[in-house]
Amino acid sequence: MARILQLDEAIAELVHDGDTVALEGFTHLIPVAAGHEIIRQRRRDLTLVRMTPDIVYDQLIGAGCARKLIFSWGGNPGVGSLHRFRDAIQNSWPVPLEIEEHSHAGMANRYAAGASGLPFAVLRGYAGTDLPAQTDTIKMIECPFTGERLAAVPAINPDVGIIHAQQADRAGNVQMWGITGVQKETVLASKRSLVTVEEIVDELTPRPGAVVLPQWVVTAVAEAPGGAAPSYAQGYYERDNAYYQQWDPIGRDREKFENWLATEVLSTERSAR
């Protein structure tokens, strides 16, 4: 049964220095509060995984939490580049950042293989691109029936998978709806998992398009209202577009970023819930 913890407790217990950690969310339901708590607890040497690293990954990288990023599209959606990410790759600031780069199709299949307990996945992908030359996690495989050559990618099995959902019940069953991305796979592929939720309710009401994760595959649930902001949580709040815009000048400048980090994350405390 999933345990209901406070967010700081959950991060302290589940995320260790050196872990491979996936905080997934596809535009919607991005686990930002959990990311900030990881920064606050000053985790180091993490291998961060995410298909679409955006602002919260820029922040984690800028704060020096990561030594490696596994990803398929890194940017501030609708705005531009992630400057902390670029500074880390191009100038090793504040620490060097290794990258392992895939396409979305490749990453989605790596999570699916991880969730399936398979060591690898097969896809039609990467053919003719320069990506395979840059990573040893793309190989070719031959169909044993047709002889056709396809791409193979290894499973991702993070030490910790972290997602944000709208609701959990008191037993820790989780329900999310709207765009749910690769979050189910992330939890199922991970050795440990944390789901932050907008609210804990007495009973989950079935909804069209909802994805349910039963409590017995979730390690911990933490209530974190607003925990996906500045992204949105369908049924709870909308995307804070201004935040994405406002991040650009902060992210561009090391000093501004460090001020932001000190005032907005390190010196604050997530209100206990």
Partner: protein, 256 residues
């Protein structure tokens, strides 16, 4: 027909919208492709099926979505599915008619770079967002439309990185690589439209935007641009097209 004033970006968006046939299924990226697809759905292609990589099949947004995962897409979709499914069950088998791609660089065979510019991969001058869905969109959609503003920095002799394959090094390469779709059938730019030469697959200027010249296009391309004998001139945006486009753009303010 109108002689209203319009920008070259508007012409480009309208040109892209017109390339979408009614009833086809279109894999839409955010930005200009999404604007064009939504414009098409509001004008000549009411049955256009919009598919976003976030997992929304048949989205019918009443405003421009601000991201490929905008809530309005889920709210209005025929079905919302997970991201592994959108790539595996829907994109990969080649059941999506049209894919839209942009990029930082394109070469004469329609190959695209969205990864790094300058330096080398490990120490690039500019680190771009990366591949996203593009390599498999380029490989698997039945046809691809590329939309990019023309400039010598973006229409280059040689890509710094091949993120997505157009025609590789020329005709026959897609087949050799096992790519299922036809590849890029049009590159829609602010100055005009390039199409692959039927013999060589080299991108060739076939249409000019109203007011644009062949000379301008040649100067905006980093390789010796081939031009068909008599490039046609694109029909200027109609009043309807412009009105709908501007209304669409105006919806962004209130969006989440």
């Amino acid at each position: 027909m109108s002689s209203a004033e319009f920008t070259s970006d508007e012409m480009m968006t309208v040109g892209a919208a017109r390339s979408l046939h009614d009833g086809v299924a279109c894999f839409v990226g955010i930005g200009l492709p999404s604007t064009a697809a939504n414009l098409a759905r509001r004008t000549h292609a009411p049955n256009l099926v919009l598919i976003y990589e976030s997992g929304t099949l048949g989205a019918k947004p009443d405003r421009l979505p601000l991201s490929i995962g905008d809530g309005v897409l889920a709210d209005t979709a025929d079905s919302v599915i997970g991201v592994p499914e959108i790539f595996n069950y829907w994109l990969q088998p080649g059941r999506i008619d049209t894919g839209f791609l942009g990029g930082a660089q394109v070469d004469r065979f329609g190959n695209i770079n969205t990864t790094v510019i300058g330096g080398d991969y490990a120490n690039p001058k500019v680190r771009l967002p990366g591949a996203g869905g593009a390599p498999e969109i380029a490989a698997s959609c039945r046809e691809v439309l590329i939309v990019m503003r023309m400039s010598p920095r973006s229409f280059v002799e040689k890509l710094d990185f091949v993120t997505s394959v157009g025609y590789g090094t020329g005709k026959g390469d897609r087949e050799k690589l096992g790519l299922r779709g036809r590849g890029p059938v049009k590159v829609i730019t602010d100055l005009g439209v390039l199409e692959p030469d039927p013999e060589t697959c080299e991108l060739t200027l076939t249409q000019l935007s109203p007011g644009a010249t062949v000379e301008q296009a040649r100067e905006a391309v980093g390789w010796p641009l081939k031009v068909v004998d008599e490039p046609t001139v694109l029909q200027a945006p109609t009043e309807t097209e412009l009105t709908v486009l501007r209304e669409l753009k105006a919806t962004i303010g209130g969006a989440k």
